[in-house]
């Protein structure tokens, strides 16, 4: 057996390390959120869900932005790896988006008195979820792999262009809703709260990186397997002739 290349063993080490890092960061954030961060004056302990909710939202947007870039890169270069990255990032983004949509109502119920309101951010997140769920559905229903990659790339671009328009339209639609939590560069947060918030961001970034590190190689293996199957079928056909 040949020795694995240094790059490969580094990737393998990273793949083993990342889940450990995610776990560590998650535990750290739990500590920061529940014991370190100050108790919010008006909302009380309920507010602590913010440290899990808002960072997930941020990283979710980032993930869809990666899908957007990967989609452009795929159409420009036609390298399968960009398609795999786009798909992996969408799946991770959709997971994070689901976390946002689940944690939001948990907070909204005691604070706003309702699980759901059609406020700009909430609605935009929901529409985002729908668009990228549709993206994965199109992938599922398209059999030809190249076609699937192209359709997905087009959707990755069109879907992302839609996001600011959705946000703007929902904002005008609902009128001026008070922004309950204003996070502009952390300026509106007390220091201990900032720590917990940053801990949350670090956790979700690590989680995203971890999922990508697992999913992209898996996508490559799927690609390889498909190629081998085609080869085997071609050889079988040649043999039977």
């Amino acid at each position: 057996m040949t020795r694995p290349s240094p790059a490969r063993s580094a990737a393998r080490a990273l793949r083993l390390l990342l889940p450990v890092a995610v776990t560590g960061l998650a535990v750290g954030t739990l500590y920061l959120a529940f014991f370190h961060a100050a108790r919010e004056r008006v909302m009380g302990d309920i507010q602590r869900i913010f440290y899990f909710h808002a960072p997930a939202g941020l990283v979710c947007f980032f993930a869809f932005f990666v899908t957007f870039l990967a989609s452009i890169a795929y159409l420009a270069t036609r390298r399968p790896v960009w398609d795999i990255v786009g798909r992996a990032s969408t799946e991770a983004g959709l997971l994070l988006c689901s976390i946002v949509l689940l944690t939001g109502p948990l907070w909204a119920r005691p604070v706003w008195g309702t699980y759901w309101t059609w406020e700009a951010r909430l609605t935009t997140t929901l529409v985002l979820w729908l668009i990228y769920a549709a993206y994965l559905m199109v992938r599922r229903y398209t059999d030809d792999p190249d076609q699937q990659a192209r359709f997905a790339a087009v959707l990755g671009i069109v879907g992302f262009l839609d996001v600011p328009i959705v946000y703007w339209s929902v904002r005008v639609w609902r009128g001026h809703h008070p922004l309950v939590l204003k996070v502009s560069g952390g300026g509106g947060l007390e220091q201990s709260m900032q720590h917990a918030f940053l801990g949350g961001v670090a956790t979700y970034v690590a989680l995203y990186a971890c999922l990508m590190m697992l999913r992209v190689p898996m996508g490559r293996q799927e690609e390889e397997l498909r190629w081998l199957r085609e080869r085997a079928a071609a050889m079988r056909d040649a043999g039977s002739r």
Binding site: M137, D143, Q147, V158, W173
Partner: protein, 249 residues
Amino acid sequence: MSLPASSSPAARAALNPGVLPGAGREARKAVLVCAKDLRIEWRNLDNLPAMFFFSLLILVIFNFAFDFASSDFRILAPGVLWVAFTFAGVLSFGHSFDLERDADCIQGLRIAPIDPGSLYLGKMMANGVSMLLVELVVLPLSALLFGADLLPVAAPLGAVVLAHTVGFAAVGTLFGAMTARTRRGDVLLPILLFSVSVPLMISAVKSTSALLSEGTLRGEAATWLTMACIFDVVFVTAAYLTFEYVLEE
């Protein structure tokens, strides 16, 4: 390349390089594609009656669901009308590319000397015109059914309807081309269309209802009309640029 003797002067002009400058030539080809689709529709009336009937049916169904008689036309009508128009649109977007699957016509279009973007624009125009035709019949009919007077706002209402129809046709045509080549395309098309066109649906309903209650295209209605125009520009451009990847074999 020599053209068949039977081709029309318009086709000759469109395919003859040197007659028109580049952009004008492509625009001409788009118009030809649109005319072709509309001519096919005119000759066999395969889709328009279904679109019309479907949107009428939606009005009737919603009438039972919401009981228009006991509520204000201006509150319910915009939503109901736009649901009727866009659902009818879905029939058109799907059909537009089913048409080309017959006898592998899409292959012919692909090898024809037409820019994929122009092909897209042509298809989009044909879909838009089909939607507009349905709207042209259904709007007066709804005014009649619900006892509302739309005549004083006819002109601004036309602008609102046109701006939003372009947007729906822009997105619908792109997704129609895509879902014509997937499994369960008939299911995927509305899923894609209605998730991406959420902002357009909002602005369609909002601008129509602002117009119906205020009677002019100022204030709220104007804001929404601007928003629809931005949507149109963004998505026509995006679809124009990406259509070749959707069309590719």
